[in-house]
Symmetry: C2
Subunit: 196 residues, 2 copies
DNA sequence: TGAGAAAGAGCACGACCGTTCACTTTGGTC
DNA sequence: GACCAAAGTGAACGGTCGTGCTCTTTCTCA
């Protein structure tokens, strides 16, 4: 049983790589199998269908995201430096950890946001939870804590800056994309701590 | 010759609709032809290849964007109300004018940002020009004008809020998405006019 | 070490893909 | 109203897609 788990992991890694570049629904079983060194039918010993594989790719990517971005930050005390760590790791997640195709979660979001199904459901659930996490972080940034509405506004801006950074970096090929996003985010933190 | 232009326009409209929902590269010639009431081979009297059609779809969408968002704003005097109009029309462009599949330009950006070719080139050129336009608008928001760096930071935030609005509205199905984005944008305008 | 399950290969299938080509119908112009 | 180009049809192509099937190889555990 151990061998199977290892190749399953290799399949997921390779499929995630290809999905980040070409799109989750465009990935071909043939290409994944070839890159992993398997026959196409061999894939079906690990996943019942293409959609099942896409779902597994998405879920394992969400876990990797949590480990890479949230886990290190969660070990810091709540507050400004924790939020800074989250944002820095978030940027690094798309710039470094997924350098080739960018953040798959974001790409899949834009690809699936109008296509009902289990893939979209998983994304929606995770993104809602992530948003709630960010709102809580902003609330505990100040004493007395920010109002729900203020924290939501701040979390919205933080997430927006991540999205903006991605477009500037990947399409516009702007070398200053990271600096721009960091400046906007630090500004947001300053304003929030000052209480607007 | 006039009949041909009319059906060409119908093809572009339908293809843009489907591309916004399913993705520009996933659109099938068969589905487009059927929806327009044409045979698949009939499409080839209007476009040499699928890629040529995609390019035409993208270009006509960029023109419609300029007419819908920029044209009305450009008739106002430069300044705060013009920037507000741009943002409002920009949001309406994705919420109202393209209610079904959302903003095709944004979807195509995320789909093509790592796939070299003429489609990506067209998008890159337009987005760079659009960014420059926004930077200029922010510069003329205040007297003395903002520095280049300050204006770039402001334009980055404005664009980011648009992207954030789209994700909140389309994936998270947040009914307050529009209000959140407008609040963040008005805040940005206030800060910028005040001179930070 | 041998039995049995897990992992994987090879092939064929029906469906759909973009594209071509020979043909017919339609529309505008002298 | 005739002519000719433009517009559109239908069938067929080579290719790729996801999937099911039978068969062989490889691992794992008693």
């Amino acid at each position: 049983m151990r061998k199977g788990e290892a190749t399953r992991a290799r399949i997921l890694d390779e499929a995630a790589r290809q999905a980040a570049v070409r799109g989750l629904s465009v990935v071909s079983l043939n290409d994944v199998a070839e890159a992993v060194g398997l026959s196409k039918s061999g894939l079906f010993k690990h996943f019942d269908s293409k959609e099942a594989m896409q779902l597994a790719v998405l879920q394992s990517t969400l876990e990797r995201f949590a480990e890479y971005v949230w886990l290190p930050a969660s070990q810091l005390p709540a507050g400004r430096s924790r939020l800074e760590t989250i944002f820095e790791r978030w940027i690094a997640w798309s710039e470094v950890e997924n350098a080739e195709g960018g953040c798959l979660i974001m790409a899949a979001t834009s690809e699936l946001d109008d296509q009902p199904g289990p893939l979209r459901d998983v994304l929606q659930t995770q993104q809602r939870r992530w948003t709630r996490t960010l709102v809580k972080e902003f609330q505990s940034l100040r004493e007395p804590p920010l109002s729900e509405a203020q924290a939501q506004l701040a979390a919205f801006q933080m997430k927006s800056f991540f999205l903006g950074h991605n477009e500037n970096r990947r399409l516009l090929e702007d070398a200053d994309a990271r600096a721009l996003a960091m400046a906007a985010f630090r500004d947001l933190l300053d304003r929030t701590v000052r209480g607007d």
